[in-house]
Amino acid sequence: MSAALIVDLGLTLLILGLGVWTVAARSNNGAVVGYIAYGLLVALVWVRLAAVDVALTEAAIGSGLTGLLLLGVATRLPRSARLTRPPTGLGTRLLAGFLSAAVAGGLAAVVLLLPDPAPTLAPSVAANLPATGLGNPVTGVLIAFRAIDTLLESVVLVFAIIGVWSLAPKDGWGERPGWLRPAPLGSALTLLAQLLPPIGILVGIHLFWTGATAPGGAFQGGAVLAAMWVLAMIAGLARPPAVSRRWLRLMLVAGPALFLTVGIAGIWLAGAFLAYPVAYAKPLILVIEAALTLSIAAALGLLLAGPPEHPSAAERQP
């Protein structure tokens, strides 16, 4: 038994144990904290599987951003809903457990029954990658070979923002998002929010730029940029912008709009929707990725900032 196998086995057991612990946690906050740790461990598994791109995304979005969103929801629930009394009967819960186990069993069966070697498109991606001018096959798949998926994903983020904004109370429309209550100035958080953003913005841009040749890309870079923005907002050093601002809305749709424009232009210039003229593939992809990074950063930051609220709502709530 090699050392690597022991580490992998330990990691797997830890994840399974943490999963059970998260499901069984008696408080919502506890379950969310378990979920965040679970996401970080899953990111380690992706690193062990040599899928560093997925690991970065899992750590930044799966664990960090989703964890923060869930934590916000857990603390916002009215106290009565926070008590984990079983809301349904034993039969319903048994049925839910049975269905979940069936899904898990089905997935396990599919993975175990795969022919050996498993069917893969990796050789054709490797063969066609030079045409895109990219060095990172993951970015190649995301932006060129399966561009339609990425385009739809970036549009989904805009829909998510519309969904969050539509939760605005009647007098809150057009105002600033109100979920992030800034901490008092002068705490340790203020210092962190002054020191970290210069480093974080550099790392975010680096992740976007290096995504062409190494693990990284628009989603990972955008997530880091959004984290820096949210840090400044939580520390009270920056106020979330009013949702009626035109520049904010332009920033949100810039990435998907540019992606769609280049994709439609491809019908005439390269013969297919979302195809790039080979001579300009690399610069076009970089421009699209840059706009996507900006839009993703804005969307993720605004997701955490919540729906707009009337300025007086801050005093009404505890």
Binding site: R26, S27, T75, R85, A188
Partner: protein, 105 residues
């Protein structure tokens, strides 16, 4: 020379691992939040510092080494800040409104 550097790496990383172990034992055994935070942040900062120190001879200079040092410095900053914030949250009553209580049995 290579042997000496490998030996240095082994010793530094082992020391770092011991610090992590001590921090974890402290986290599990110390009586209240503040002492647990003390065990966690101090031991982790030193432990990670020793592991970074041990890895320095094994990576290419200057880029790899500077990246490792940068990681350590950022973790120091984050650990110190989070430690302060959690200690404040543990001590002040102002945050009680947002803590999640266990359901009564």
């Amino acid at each position: 020379m290579t042997l000496a550097l490998t030996l240095f790496t082994l010793i530094a990383i082992s020391l770092g691992a011991i610090f992590f172990l001590a921090g974890t034992v402290g986290l599990l055994r110390f009586p209240d939040t503040l002492t647990r935070l003390h065990a966690l942040t101090k031991a982790d900062n030193l432990g990670l510092g020793l592991i970074v120190l041990g890895l320095l001879p094994q990576v290419d200079w200057p880029v790899g080494g500077l990246k490792l040092i940068a990681v350590w410095l950022v973790v120091l900053l984050a650990g110190a800040t989070v430690g302060q914030l959690m200690a404040k949250a543990a001590r002040s009553d102002a945050w009680n409104g947002s803590t999640d209580l266990e359901p009564p049995r």
